[in-house]
Symmetry: C2
């Protein structure tokens, strides 16, 4: 068998190599780098091909493809959502992604994206909080202590200077897990026994629970003036975490209104409910936080461009490192018209 | 670094392993097997989630995702089309695909699909010709001698009993390539210097040229009664190969009308131009060939379900063989909520 040419080989980042890369770069440094890539792509928002995600639903979950392109590179993420998976020891969400060259259609990167999505989600939250959170915020309430909690906490530390995280989950074991995982990070953790207790003195309130139904993790009377709410968990039709009255009192910022109106917290509000797009705040076209008493709310559902930014970062960052393997994914005959000849020669060549 | 668990590993079929598998099974045997899988899926056509392909267009080409699902498995193909690629020694079309379990969203197969698409396209053509071509057909005209020509020829031999292929291409070097490649296959090849000459005495006329514009590879006066036309090359808006008058005289069979009316030969015809769906012929709901003088025409554009069938075949066929590698694509923490713990333990475990 002749060795495939360079054209046939696509760099592949396995889960193991992604973990090595994260430790090589440093978790907080990588969260900052990812935030820079995401912010840079939000700045050139108009350039992107913003296709809605393509979903295949079943009784027990959904499989989605999330493509986008900036005219130079094309990226997509495969991601599933199966809430019942944890019963069988499987992840609720797994993901992988691909980046390709628009000019010839050849893939240039295939990578795991379960870890990378956790990193980019946290990096996006913290990048947005840097624009919206009150000045001098030091304390975050982290309500919902699942797989995303540590990433959110470290991103808010690395990008916004948070030094204390007040933790609450309906399952104390989840809070114990986050406390343990954050022990050596320099963050002060405060385990709490209620959401009310968790938000005491916090300037940033992050909600990221696994409730599938319309739930009220934060009720109206709990939220005082001047805070920034980072709402991660409401991310599909029928799944929300905040009382509508909070949305009514807040200035709401979203990634992409057509998607967020279906999937986000604002699915509870009328279709013409006023929101600002985050990219407009980043470019300076619209104001972010205007005063100290305002409640800002980032209604985050996750958008394809954030995955695209993360894929760009990985493509750039693995160059010259050992943290990828060449994958023989593309047939590359010497003569492009002679695919059959390549096949028959493979039989003969030892 | 701890070894990933079985849940994290996705079987991957590289180009090299696909070639080994094809030779292990035998090209003609595999074409027959693929045709059986495709025919079986056409028989249960109504079951499938028939999403249109998701295309990202640029000045020089297109990148497409083609998803489908039968409610048990979910499959998609990534495929590009860049006609200018051959100038740079690259393939016009490259592809890979993935099959996943609908019930938990976990991928179960990642495979090259450049070779596999060539195989499934030929298998589909021959499976359809078995239903539509005149009885006792022995000679095929192969007009357009590019990458698909040998696969078409061998599939028509393996499934329909064709023993002679009459070859024509505007580039004599392409015809010489096919003649050479088919020399040891048992097929008689007849190089021709015009399309008119190629179709003399042929019962099956296959057109598969690379013309990007509306072209007339077959004009009306060239096509006599009783033949089966297998039109492969007209497969995107603006690209056709047949004179409209031929379509008007033929009974036209298609994969999926909403897609074929945009991409196929019938894009030249009115929106209500009568066609039959191949799955209806296969199930017996509609007649195929009714008499010896009828012209049947398969207006083939390639549909996601054919890729799905091919993915199913590969998943089933590689079991117990060495023709795949386990790919560490999915993060698999011991506790699904503890993705961060998996990451930090990876730093410590040697």
């Amino acid at each position: 068998m002749t060795h495939p040419s360079d054209k046939a080989l696509v760099p592949f980042v396995s889960v193991e190599n992604m973990m090595k890369l994260i430790h090589h770069v440093g978790i907080e440094e990588m969260l900052r780098d990812l935030a820079s890539y995401i912010e840079a792509d939000f700045r050139r928002w108009a350039l992107f091909d913003k296709t809605p995600r393509v979903a295949s639903h079943s009784d027990v979950g959904v499989i989605e493809l999330m493509p986008t392109s900036d005219g130079e590179a094309y990226g997509f993420k495969y991601v599933n959502g199966h809430p019942g998976n944890t019963r069988d020891g499987l992840q609720t969400v797994t993901a992988f992604g691909l980046l390709a060259n628009v000019h010839n259609g050849y893939p240039v990167l295939l990578t795991e994206m379960t870890l990378l999505t956790a990193m980019r989600t946290a990096a996006t939250s913290a990048m947005v909080a840097r624009h919206l959170a009150p000045k001098g915020a030091r304390t975050m309430a982290m309500i919902g202590n699942g797989a995303q909690a540590e990433f959110q906490s470290l991103a808010m530390k690395a990008l916004c200077g948070i030094d204390t995280v007040r933790l609450y989950d309906i399952d104390p074991a989840a809070t114990a897990k986050v406390t343990r995982n954050l022990a050596a990070t320099g963050l002060t953790t405060v385990p709490c026994t209620s959401a009310e207790q968790a938000i005491e003195g916090a300037q940033i309130l992050t909600t990221c629970t696994a409730d599938k139904q319309y739930a009220t993790i934060l009720s109206d009377n709990m939220v005082g003036s001047g805070v920034h709410i980072n709402a991660i968990g409401g991310d599909c039709p029928g799944k929300t975490e905040l009382a509508p009255a909070i949305l009514a009192r807040s200035d709401v910022f979203v990634e992409y209104p057509p998607q967020t109106r279906i999937e986000g917290e604002i699915q509870q509000m009328p279709d013409d409910f006023l929101v600002s797009e985050i990219w407009e705040v980043i470019t300076g076209a619209k104001p972010g936080r205007r005063d100290a008493r305002q409640i800002t709310l980032f209604d985050s559902v996750g958008f394809a461009i954030e995955d695209f930014s993360a894929l760009r970062f990985i493509r750039d960052r693995i160059a010259g490192t050992p943290f990828f393997d060449p994958l023989d994914l593309l047939a590359d005959p010497d003569d492009p018209r002679d695919l059959f000849g390549m096949l028959t020669r493979a039989q003969i060549t030892p």
